[in-house]
């Protein structure tokens, strides 16, 4: 049951959710708060599930979106989808749990994936005698060959050994995973050791996948393997992105299983990545369509439906002074659910200070004004300010300013063609900065038609 008073709303139901994968019971659960985006062609996650459903071959998909747009939620939806659970065995790999940001490399990622697959492979319920007997000897031999490299002794090849073999592989990867997580030296050692080259590791992962698939084929519920590799988007530095997705992209695409990877948002706009993954293989999760470029004050009907449903799952409607309060929170959130929750919380906090029994638009605006301080204070540097002004002026993003999307100083809207705007919480402030600059150009006798170009050049200067 959603929050029934202001305190419950503030402290129990309106906590910005840390992760879509969280399974604890002290926060509202995923099932409690999940609101599907309207079904149809506009929902990329639904489209992806459809592709997985209908494709005869192994689907490989790269998923991205802004922070809070629901990448992890999309992966979790795929994992939990009724259809997926029937036809696939989802193997979730949360890369950053093992591989620190700043140290990623496609070889290390392959080892992390191998560890996750090996763990599934070691589960006894798949080890029916018939299934194990049908495994080709060459395949088990290949897996045995890897054990010394994992620091484990290979068990003797005799009947019933397969369970022990997979348990040892799982143990070996468990130890390796710990080393990868904690030891710079180990990570470095692997990246310079030719034994662990990408080709060899691909063969290893594919061998594990093949073994798992063969066991699944003979299980009581035959399914296909589906790798869900989350957190790829966290490896956003140039070096890591290059290693994982530009040079390593083809390696990831050569894995013999359906796989979905998240990747950094900015890479979606990089031409080099387009050569690695076709447009069909890339999925961008847009924020819910909240506004149209021509009328930024009016919240679109689909966003109204989505956010009213979401609000309904979080707080009792009697705590909200009319739907316009929800609409305004949706507009200020730019369609990002986590920000929507944060804005509602700020509004409720303000309403409580005022001794109000419910949240109205005015208290919401006052509360969100406080949140704006977070963004304005983190926009102290001249470069960030120039970036914000550039976006406000042209509604597009250029090269040096992509990180502003990650920090949510800038948000992306999609109405047909994507367009960009300053975070609504600080849009008025930035618009004033630009208005001042426009006026100063007029004072400098710059022709009206040239002002925009002049300012754009000024904002973009190195």
């Amino acid at each position: 049951m959603p929050a029934t008073n202001l305190l419950e709303a503030i402290h129990e139901w309106l906590e910005p959710n840390e992760t879509a994968w969280y399974e604890g019971h002290d926060l509202p659960t995923y099932e409690q708060v999940y609101v599907p985006v309207e079904r149809g062609h506009d929902d990329p996650a639904e489209r992806l599930i459809e592709r997985l459903e209908y494709s005869k071959q192994s689907v490989h998909a790269f998923v991205t979106g802004q922070k809070g747009a629901g990448k992890s939620m999309a992966l979790r939806r795929i994992r939990d989808h009724r259809w997926t659970r029937t036809h696939y065995l989802p193997v979730v790999v949360r890369a950053t749990e093992t591989l620190p940001v700043g140290a990623a490399d496609v070889r290390l990622l392959l080892l992390v994936i191998a560890g996750a697959v090996a763990h599934e492979l070691s589960k006894k319920d798949l080890h029916s005698e018939q299934a194990v007997a049908a495994l080709p000897t060459a395949l088990t031999t290949r897996l045995r060959d890897w054990l010394p490299l994992l620091g484990e002794k290979a068990p003797a090849a005799r009947p019933g050994h397969f369970q022990k073999l997979t348990a040892q592989i799982d143990l070996g990867f468990g130890k390796l995973g710990f080393d990868l997580r904690t030891s710079d030296e180990k990570r470095q050692q692997i990246t310079v050791d030719p034994t662990y080259n990408a080709a060899n590791l691909t063969i290893l992962v594919n061998a594990l996948l093949e073994a798992l698939q063969r066991l699944l084929d003979r299980s009581h519920q035959p399914r296909r393997v589906l790798l869900l590799v989350d957190d790829g988007d966290k490896y956003a530095s140039l070096t890591e992105t290059d290693a994982l997705f530009i040079r390593g992209g083809s390696t990831l695409l050569s894995l013999n299983a359906a796989a979905v990877f998240t990747f950094p948002y900015w890479l979606h706009f990089d031409a080099r990545f387009a050569a690695v993954a076709s447009a069909d293989e890339r999925t961008v999760l847009p924020n819910v369509k909240v506004i149209a470029p021509g009328d930024r004050k009016r919240v679109l009907p689909e966003a109204q439906v989505f956010f009213r449903k979401l609000a309904g799952k979080l707080v009792d409607p009697k705590l909200l002074e009319g739907d316009e309060t929800i609409d305004e929170a949706a507009r200020l959130s730019a369609g990002i659910p986590r920000e929507f929750v944060r804005i509602l919380k700020a509004g409720f906090t303000r309403a409580r200070e005022l001794g109000a029994a419910r949240l109205d638009v005015k208290a919401l605006e006052e509360g969100s004004r406080r949140l704006a301080i977070d963004y304005l204070t983190t926009a102290q540097s001249e470069k960030i300010r120039r970036g914000l002004k550039f976006v406000d002026l042209l509604h597009r993003l250029d090269d040096p300013f992509w990180p502003l999307l990650d920090s949510l100083h800038v948000v992306e809207y999609v109405n047909g063609k994507p367009w960009y705007a300053v975070n609504p919480l600080i849009a008025k402030d930035v618009a004033e900065w630009v208005a001042t600059d426009r006026e100063s150009q007029r004072r400098r006798k710059v022709e009206e038609g040239l002002i925009e170009d002049t300012l754009a050049a000024e904002y973009r200067r190195p």
Binding site: L27, V101, K234, G355, L376, T377, E432
Partner: protein
Amino acid sequence: MAGRAVRLAYPHRREALALAEELREARSGGYWVAVGADAGVRRAVLALLRRELEGTDVLAVRLSADEPGPWRTLGAKALRAKKAASLVMVVELPVVATGEDEAPGRHPVELLRRLNVGREIAPGRGWRVVLWTTLGRVPDLTEWMPDIWAYRRSVAWMPGSADFVDVARRGAVATNATTRYRVQLREAEGRLKWASGATRLGALLDAAQAAAELGLMPRTQRYLREAEALVQQEPSIGHEPLHRTLSMLLYFHPKRQSAEFREIIERYAADPIWQSADVTSAVVRRHRMEADSRMGRYAAVAMSDPSALLNLAGDCLDRGRLQAARVMESLAQVSSASGVQRDHAALTDLAFMDYHAGLIAQESGETFDALCRLHGAVWYFAQMQAEAMTSIVQRLAVNLYQAIGLRDEAASLRAQAKASGRGTDSRSIPDDKLLPLDRMSRFLDRAERAFAHHDLPAAGAALSVARDAWAAGDADFRSLYGLGRIRRLEARLLVTRGDVSSALRTLQGALASVEAEGLIHERFRLLVAIAALPPAADIDLTRYDAARDALSIADRTRYVEEEIEALLRLSAAARSLGRREEARTHADRAAEIRRQVGRRPPRALEHRP
């Protein structure tokens, strides 16, 4: 985190209590961010959290800059905590030098990244982690631990002077310009050995500027005196160098605070040669502004000179013309940066840019930014050894600290600020000789005094003169502060006649003008005036809304006295609407704040044009 804990100032205590409540009520682990550079404040907040969070283990953790496994360290700390209690960890993020001399440091990137990697550990284990950073380093968090930043439950803003100075230093230019000025001085002194006429004046000015930037005051003054003499002998040398001479004289002239010096400036001002250009003196500025020049034309003339533009920004600010002030400041920045980067701009320009940006930020309600910019200006002026200006800006910052309830910061800075020199004084000037802005101000004072003594006819008469004086100013640049004062007084007179509706309309008209300009403090004063109108059924809701808007402004500006005043008005308006419980809540809160901040300070921030 050993050491003496300080008593938390009201604004910090309020933030800390809100943080404590969030931590207490949170149903799960997660991240909070606390901002403040003062170690004493940090210790005091820690003590407050320990007091407020009874039954909770509150651990202070200081991570080292080269920490290879920060989560392992936090885990080890957690192991030592009481098992039964929920756990709060206040984690002080370390700072490393950036490599430049005395430059402000930053948080170590690798450490932030490692923390970001393990971002799900704290929520997963139920740890409530408070990450402690400083105002200037908050952007490091968004850049290097974006996920933790995205997950933050809230931010407790508790910055003090250490934060504002730190941010100011980040924006400030290191004095690597020293070498450049030494070269300039040597080269200019070389030219002085042979040059005459305009060339000599140029060399004198270059030498004076370089000497001033290097802090060589006697030499600066010697060159300026010679330049001054040269200008008097040969006024035909040209406008531009003359403007610079006069401008510099105002800062570096040995007698700059004397009446004799003002006479010199007045004499220059009277000379037709100055009618098309700008000089920096308040005296000259006022004469020229009020006499006949429209600011727009004036700006066009002054376009290429940053100092002239900044002076204009100051003039606009005096009149509450915030948007025009912003444009002038923006033009000055462009002008200063054209051809040379900010790193190489003159210290004088940089100092005045920060000074005016600080004033603009203050009038826009961006109080933190205002303090950062004012400290920036103090730093530049101190570098230039411009003591008078340093003290002026320091006193402005003192008023701001006082306004936001940081009384210790205010007292400490007040002790540094030197006593002010004699400013221009118009008291001896007869009424009919006064310039319109001064006349308006003088008659408004008289009208307010008369009103206070219940002499309504005298108040009305004085108000009428003030109104005429206000209308005599340039239509585009009439003082909006003056407008606000006039309308407030008009409204009070209307109320005495029982015409509350007209009073409301009068105030709402002024409010619209002030709102359009973005003058937040004047808007506050007008809203409070509306909220203070006598109760009447048809306007009670308007009074309530006005008080609520005023409170929202106080929330934004963080001015404590404004908050108290708005709360009291809101309480009264709520009572008029029959909302007794709400009225009591606001009155109690106002009383609680008053109790914490002590008696009301003098109204140093009321703008008196």
